[in-house]
């Protein structure tokens, strides 16, 4: 299997700087072999790339991109937790994906696939994770998506 760092390069992606928490918590905590990554918003270059609910404010396709960006940010945090070496990730264990949703929106899985597919592209079988995707009435800073992650590492 190609290494995660190489896969990122192949996909034309570079990890951003790990986002700083918005408040009184930390980007990740390690407990045994599990790393718990805090909920990530779709920041890119300091700005949210999608705000407001799906579909009235944001299309499914834009929301997919936002969930993918959340995962990039989560991976930046995870990389910091393993001293920059994503080869030390043994499994992406679980994603929690919250999608800001109008009350009639029911395609949260499509939105969350932006996150899930990127993880499989980067990590292969090690990126295949359990997931809960749900709608949320409103998310921090008006973000369209928030993604939290648990990973197993060496």
């Amino acid at each position: 299997m190609t290494k995660p760092a190489q896969r990122l390069a192949d996909l034309g992606l570079t990890l951003p700087d790990a986002p700083k928490p918005l408040a009184a918590y930390v980007p990740s905590v390690r407990a045994g072999n599990l790393v718990f990554v805090s909920g990530q918003l779709p920041f890119r270059d300091g700005n949210l790339i999608a705000t407001g609910p799906v579909p009235s404010a944001v299309s499914i396709e834009q929301a997919r991109d936002a969930s993918r960006q959340c995962v990039l940010n989560a991976l930046a945090v995870l990389a910091d937790a393993v001293e920059g070496d994503l080869d030390r990730v043994r499994q992406i264990v679980r994603l929690g994906v919250f999608v800001a949703s109008d009350p009639t929106f029911t395609d949260q899985p499509q939105v969350a696939n932006g996150a899930s597919e990127l993880l499989q592209d980067i990590f292969g079988d090690l990126g295949r994770h359990a997931r809960a995707a749900v709608g949320s009435v409103a998310l921090p800073l008006g973000a369209t998506v928030e993604v939290e992650m648990i990973a197993r590492v060496e």
Copy 2:
């Protein structure tokens, strides 16, 4: 204690086939002795048995049945993770229960009890779990309930 498989039979229940994920994730991931089961919807024989929020579209009683169905599906996934032998389940650790809710609905615990009581019926003390039950503005495919689970296994 009676074995889980026997208790299921006593209750007149059979585990369904483990539902396939709706998208780019897997039904469960094991990390050490913990199995993380993806969020399950109230599918029965291929159809959702409850859609829309409580109480405007679905009664509390129907929603309780739906949360119970989610747990049956979660147990089918968990059984697959332990080669069909639910005796290897040492503890149901945590349930996350999301209930599609009208803004004024506040009886999420009653709905979630459909899930929780079934686990205790099947596993006895080993089925007594920590739980978070919350309202959601909208869930995948319009489902009334989504349940995710963490279990400790041999």
Copy 3:
């Protein structure tokens, strides 16, 4: 570092009795070195100190106090899980903070900081946790906030 029990006293706080679950689950489950604490509501002396969404029914400041109360209740549960000795807490690992929110409310992190800051006040670095804070359309009993916790213990 000052001991958690001393810090609680310094802050003029005493742990309440651990709240009883509203239903068919337990206050916490231990799995290995992790303790999973069930979602806690802002009960104080048997009554919810904040009900309804932010900001139409409850101000941000009141909601912050409510999230702090949820954490006090979670710590009471956690203390029970370690035989009353909070010195055995090695790390607060993760908080899930659900904030009952009007659709336009986006300051969930401010609300959740009431919970997060208290943990750091009490535990210092051991209180610095990963976090997901999201909006919820409605919470059990109409509570304004629900907080669940994972801690690592001896």
